[in-house]
Symmetry: C2
Subunit: 195 residues, 2 copies
């Protein structure tokens, strides 16, 4: 219904998360989550909404510096960057910013985090966009992006009408969420019983 | 030689890292590492040295709030917290702060990160301290601690004779290092070819 290609958040086709909401609450505890973080992420969502395209330009521009990152988006037969892949996945990347700020997180949100993990892992990479790119993104090239996706957000949070204290609270809540999400995305990469 | 129980950094008993220094440099690139980060981590090391015990109290105090975290340190037969385990591992935890600040990172440092991963994973948990605790720490209870180990450091970095700009640069370098290290620690948890 969103009009975003392959964006299946809340759709019944998305498998249920392999952990309960109670275990999810424990993970939130380990990133020091509080109700205040829910509140400040909603505030962040309002501040970031008009800047979504600028954020994507910043992040995609950074990733494009690296040939080994570009390789994940090339056709494995022709070696060409797949333009349609970028065109289809970019709006999902933008929606991910909105979903990160759309608190409190419910079961649909949790289920979809595991779907995002599968779409980076060989379980399901390329399937959503029906492309012939590399079949898998290595976990060691995903976890480090916690830094990119957190540190660069601070400058965008500053482009609003908020106090320094509010900006810091939005940043902390965002940071917690990114760490939490990368934790969930690692599920399909992990050996049985190790996650 | 350090006198720290089970601290084998630089020892020939530590297996070589499964990645080359060239691949390690790529991972540093993905956390936006620069030579300046090496410099500011050394500055952080001087600032944090007199506060190592306070940092450990803060972190261990946080973790002790959670029964599922305490379970990793209990004797699986008696259910009691293993005092000797804490006594032996605490100085290694403190040394980890120093090693995080001891830049630039060399091959011994890289090798030892994978050893730290094995010691949390079922490959080698308990072996170093010869204890009868839970045989494995789940990855989903490790990655979230990026937040704890980063956000709380800022307050300790402020307890020195540095400008706000220097404090921020020390914090950013520390943040990058923590993300990089957790990336490396995830290696033994990951399915063959997925890391």
């Amino acid at each position: 219904m969103s009009g975003i290609p392959g964006y299946d958040f809340g759709d019944e086709s998305v498998p249920a998360a392999p952990i309960s909401m109670a275990e999810f609450e424990r993970l939130k505890d380990t990133v020091m989550w509080s109700d205040e973080d829910d509140e400040y992420l909603r505030m962040a969502g309002e501040t970031l909404e008009p800047q979504v395209d600028d954020m994507l330009d910043r992040w995609l521009g950074f990733l494009a510096n690296f040939e080994f990152m570009n390789d994940y988006r090339r056709d494995v037969d022709t070696g060409e960057l797949i333009e349609e892949y970028g065109d289809r996945s970019r709006p999902r990347y933008g929606q991910w910013i909105r979903d990160t700020c759309d608190t409190p997180y419910d079961e649909d949100w949790l289920d979809y985090q595991f779907e995002i993990g599968r779409r980076h892992h060989r379980t399901k990479k390329n399937e959503t966009d029906d492309v012939n790119a590399a079949p898998h993104i290595d976990l060691r090239h995903i976890t480090p992006l916690i830094y990119l996706h957190t540190a660069t957000v601070r400058e965008f949070l500053q482009n609003g009408d908020h106090t320094e204290a509010e900006i810091d609270k939005m940043y902390q809540a965002w940071f917690k969420s990114i760490v939490l999400q990368v934790t969930l995305w690692s599920y399909p990469y992990t050996k049985d019983g190790d996650w």
